[in-house]
Structures are given as structure tokens and as C-alpha cells.
Symmetry: C2
């Protein structure tokens, strides 16, 4: 609540689902949490009476037909609140209008104080229970990857590989995939976000698999890239540059380190390899109840890592189709003609007192020619 007070408010309204779950334990699709001083209450509707009382232990549960946010706002106004912080990035203009109408005219104009990510910031640091869930999610991801390798063969389609991964996710206890599974093969591996398609895996070329599962509400996220058939020297070189960059970034992780430093650790390796431009995205992001959370692991980010944060480390290099006309700087002047391809390698990493603990270490990152 210190952040709330710093924003000039005496109460906090939370309506974003993952934030509501984080504060109250309630997982239903419609709920709001109000926090006033030391008190808090969860508002939802009659569909969730039993579930809310079971899930939101130690939190007062209020059931009513009206929209949860409206209930919450009226409850706060009745409790004498005159200034309430809310998340402007998670509240629509229409929802704000509805909530304002529920307030007494006297306080309406100045009631809401826009904040941003007040609960999201709390969620960045995971407690022991959250870390245990994330480890289970990460370990399931690794088991899925190992099991699916036998299906990564020339002629199989990308969606078949995705289907096998997702089947094993379900059978292993996942509630859902944490995002749309990426299987990008051959020239499609040059796409950073190549959703699985009907494309057939090539006899020779990379296959990038980027996927995650949800276990007990928490997301995993990992990427492995393997090669089908005998690789060119260039492909081998790019893979090992990305691997070196990935490992350098993991090694840079420790409490007190700035996120920008972790990004730079990866970027410096790829810069030396002549692949700076080919690494066209940031190095990683926090993960938890949502697949994308804070902190951002990107260039110049000043935010400092804290013990208990869980972040991804996922540098990549994506090479478009090139012609034989020389002069390219990539890979120390060895750039040659060839089709497009790409490589990305990603782990989930827990920030511990002693440094980064890789949660997806069960799946090897070694060069694989299948």
C-alpha cells in the first residue's frame, strides 16, 4: 500500500484477473478486489459464490448481481474513501465511466487516481509457493521437449510437432499452453514468432520450438532449436554464437544487476559475431501468472533484478535470404549465399542469492543434428 499512498490515494481498486488472483486467490473470470487501509474485500457474482469462498481464504467475499467493480467502488465510497488508485493500463474508458456513475456526485470527479502496474510490480518477485509451481511447469516443459524429439523428422508438419507437444502437456497435467506454440522450420525459422503451420520439416535445416505450459496457474516458457540433417558451417556458427550469448546472459544474472546489463551480456556476444542486427528483439521478460510480466530484460533497462524474480533469457539471430555478392560483415566476413534461417535458445531463470538458477536445465542446449 505504500505505492498507493505515494500516488496520493488511500485505497486501491484491482480488476485485472491475474492481479485479483494474486491478491485474493480467486480464479473466476469476474472479480474485483478493494483494499482500504488494512482491510480488503473480494467482489464477484452469484456464479462464483462457492468458488470464491473456497479460493479466497482470509479475504472477505461479497456476492452481488452488479458488476464487481461497481460493487467495489460503492463499498469504498461507503467506507469514506475519497481517493482510490486504479490501474489505468487495465481499465477501459467504458468501465471507468460505469464506475464513476456508481459514485456519489460529491466525490466522483476526484475519486480515481491513475496508477500503472501497482500490483504487477509486487508480482515480479515470487514467493516459495510460486517458485515451486513454476519449477513444476518448467520441468513439464522439458519432459515434453524430450518426448517430442522423435517426431521432429523431415516431412512431419510443424502442426504435428505442436500437436505432440500439446498432447504431452495435457497428459502431464498442464491446464493450458501458456501461449500459442511456435514451431518454425527451415526458412520459417527466420521468423521470430513463427506459429506452427502446415509446413513440412525440411531434410536439412533448423527447427525452432518455443512453447510453455500453465501449471497451477503459473506459466513456463522455453525455446530449443535443433537441426535436421547435416548443417552448413554458417548454421553451426550462428547456433553457437546464440548459445554463447544465451549462456553469457544467464551468467550475468544476480540480485542487484540491472536488466540492461543482462541484455548487454547477450548482445555483446552477438555483436562480436557480426550478428547484432540479426538479434532484433529484447533478451527476455518476467514470467509468472502471465506469460509476459515485468521486468523487461532489454537494452538500457535500469530496473534492478531482485531475488525471487523469474525471467526468460532468449536471445536469437534471424538471417534473411542472402546472395553471394560478398562484403557482408556477419561472421567475420564468411557470409555466403543461402536461404533464410534463424536460431533462438531460451531458458527460464530464477534469480537467487547466488545468481541465476536455470529452471529449464533438464533440456539440453547442446547442438543436435537429428
Amino acid at each position: 500500500m505504500r505505492a498507493v499512498e505515494a500516488a496520493g490515494a488511500e485505497a486501491l481498486l484491482v480488476t485485472h484477473g491475474p492481479d485479483v488472483r494474486y491478491l485474493s486467490g480467486f480464479t473466476g473470470s469476474s472479480g474485483a478486489v478493494a483494499m482500504v487501509g488494512g482491510r480488503s474485500a473480494l467482489f464477484t457474482d452469484g456464479r462464483y459464490t462457492t468458488q470464491a469462498k473456497a479460493e479466497a481464504e482470509g479475504v472477505r467475499v461479497v456476492i452481488d448481481k452488479r458488476a464487481p467493480a461497481v460493487q467495489a467502488v460503492e463499498w469504498m465510497a461507503a467506507a469514506g474513501v475519497t481517493r482510490c488508485a486504479f490501474d489505468a493500463g487495465q481499465t477501459t474508458v467504458a468501465a471507468m465511466e460505469t464506475m464513476k456513475k456508481a459514485l456519489p456526485a460529491g466525490v466522483r470527479r476526484s475519486f480515481f487516481v491513475a496508477g500503472s502496474g501497482l500490483v504487477a510490480r509486487l508480482r515480479e518477485v515470487k514467493d516459495e509457493d510460486e517458485i515451486a509451481r513454476m519449477k513444476r511447469a518448467a520441468e513439464l516443459g522439458c519432459r515434453m521437449f524430450e518426448a517430442v524429439l522423435e517426431f521432429v523428422v523431415p516431412g512431419a508438419t510443424e502442426v504435428e510437432v505442436a500437436a505432440e507437444l500439446e498432447y504431452r502437456a495435457r497428459m502431464g497435467g498442464a491446464e493450458a499452453m501458456s501461449f500459442e506454440t511456435i514451431v518454425a522450420s527451415g526458412e520459417r525459422s527466420a521468423l521470430p514468432h513463427g506459429r506452427a503451420t502446415g509446413a513440412k520439416l525440411p531434410k536439412r535445416g533448423f527447427v525452432t520450438m518455443d512453447f510453455g505450459v500453465v501449471v497451477d496457474g503459473y506459466c513456463s516458457d522455453m525455446t530449443r532449436t535443433v537441426h535436421l540433417g547435416r548443417a552448413t558451417d554458417e548454421a553451426w556458427d550462428v547456433y553457437h554464437s546464440v548459445l554463447e550469448a544465451q549462456e553469457a546472459a544467464v551468467a550475468a544474472i544476480a540480485p542487484g544487476v540491472r536488466c540492461g546489463e543482462v541484455d548487454e551480456a547477450a548482445r555483446a556476444v552477438l555483436r562480436r559475431a557480426g550478428l547484432e542486427k540479426e538479434f532484433s528483439h529484447s533478451t527476455g521478460h518476467g514470467v509468472g501468472l502471465e506469460i509476459h510480466e515485468g521486468p523487461r530484460i532489454a537494452a538500457k533497462q535500469e530496473q534492478v533484478l531482485k531475488q525471487g524474480m523469474v525471467i526468460t533469457v532468449e536471445p536469437g539471430a534471424y538471417l534473411a535470404t542472402r546472395t553471394a555478392v560478398g562484403g557482408g560483415k556477419a561472421l567475420g566476413g564468411t557470409k555466403r549465399s543461402g536461404g533464410a534461417f534463424g536460431v533462438r535458445i531460451e531458458d527460464m531463470v530464477l534469480v537467487t542469492e547466488g545468481g541465476g538458477e536455470v529452471l529449464t536445465s533438464a533440456s539440453p542446449k547442446v547442438w543436435m543434428e537429428l
Copy 2:
């Protein structure tokens, strides 16, 4: 644009992903469409240069580093727009602040005119191409259901059934499931939204499967309920009351009919069977690029069906645990003791000139004791 003009605006800003896709064809995660008079433009960023130009045929594509909505607003202001409609239900307070800051001070205060569902209304009526995609999605759902029946056996878990369904979805060409698969067995069938869990299917009892796939961007949605083992008379009666209600609602569908009439057709059957309270949700909803679209098929809805709409018809009855202490009105006084159970039956229905055309007719709705 008539709705835009009626709202007192001369332009429309669209930022909600499915609306952007509907108007421009663009499927990327970050885009905005601006419509001014007869002109329109799609704004996105450098990640999507190639994709946007390929997908947004006949639409002007503008690429820039800044947020698409900010680009769009500046473009409109430069074109002399002073009043722009936007969807207040799809725009956050934070996004609105950012857009206002991008405007010249002179027009900032009165530039935005809140609208709601301006594009959503257009999307309710599907054209031939959309209907063809939805038929393919619906047919894939039916094939998945038929294939998965062999796994619906006592002792299998709900997630195993979900896994088999989802595997077949992927192998059949689905891009994704259109929502989290529901497999609710035994007493869990009494939950209208029982996500698949590790619960084992019982020797005797209902299994409700509610699922859908996304094919070429369009969602399917269907529910079938089957019975494992020999059913009680009560279970048989409830199933057939729900089936009769479902078929009555489908039969009520025609252009010009009010949505509330379709709902009432189902509700009247269940009322006569003493199951009115046990039918605790609305009868259906529109479906398309999103799993839940307009129109709402619910009590007292005055909206009128139009040719080309695609709606779900999904009445259900959910009976909590009952004791032998008599007096219950359900099923004409035959209410007895028993565990909780529930039944839901759902089809996707296209509104045609001649009435409702069931798109999920390939899967039988007949009583099945497996």
C-alpha cells in the same frame, strides 16, 4: 460509417485486434485502423512490414516505430479530423491519455467521441467467405468429437479426453482451440463451466464436452453430453428435456425473430419440465473471429436476427445434490435423491433465409450410453 456519423464524428479509430483484422485483414498483434470518409489506413510497426502489406490488400499500410494508435491519431489530425469515434469498451484509460497527448492542444479536448461496438455490430453478419471458414471449423469440431468417443471410458481422466480432442484439432488443421476445453464428468457435469481436470470418468454418469477450434481465424463452438453406463430415469428425462429445448430454440431461428424469442423457446420447454431454475445461463451468443460476439441470445433481448448471423444454441440443466426429502417440483414431482449432474447440448447455427442451418449437424445429439 453511418454509425460513426450518427455518433457525431467524422472519423473512426479501431484498435481492438479482431476489429482491425475484420476491417483490414491484418492479423498481427499490434495495429490500428483509421477511417476518414472513404479512406482508411492501417498503422503498425516494423516487425510487421511484410505481413501487413501481404494481408491488408487494398488498404494503405503505414509503418512506424511509434504505437499504432498514436500514429493513427496524428494522421487523422493532420488530415483535418476534429471528431473521432472510438470504442470505449476496448480502449484503456492509459491508452486514451497517450493518444490525447499526441494531438494538437486545440483539438485534444473534444477530439474523441466514445462509441461502443461500432465494428462489433458489423461483424455480427457474416459474408460468404466467413461462413465457409466457420463451416470448416464446425465440421472439424464434429470430426474431433466422433474420434474422441473411444476415449470416453470409465477411469480415463477428463484431461485425457481434452488432450485427445486437442490433438485431433491440431492434426485437423486448427490454429488453436477457441476456448479452454470443458470436460465435466459425473458430479462435475453439474458445473456449467467445468474445465477438464484430473478427475476420472465415472462408471455411471454424464460427461459433458464443450469445445471449439479456430480455423482461418474463425471459431467453432459445440457441446455434446454422453452417458457412461446405465442411466437413471431422471438422467434420461433431463437429457431429453434439454434436447427438446435445444431443438425448439433452433426451430425458432429465422431472420426477423427477436433473440429473446429464441431464448424463450428453449426456456419454455425447460419450464414445463420443472427445470427452469436449473437452466441458469442464457441460451447462446454470436460467434466468429471471437468466441463470444453479438448478438446475445438471452431473455428479453430485443435485437433481431439477420440472415448471415452465426449463433450458438446451448441450453442446459444443472442439478445440485438432492436429498430424498420430497416436494421437489422438478420433472413433475418425480424428483429423487441423487448426486449432482448436468446436461448441456450446443450447436452452431447459421441464420438463413429459410431458418436456422445447424453447422454442427454431423455430430449426433441422440442419447448415447457408452
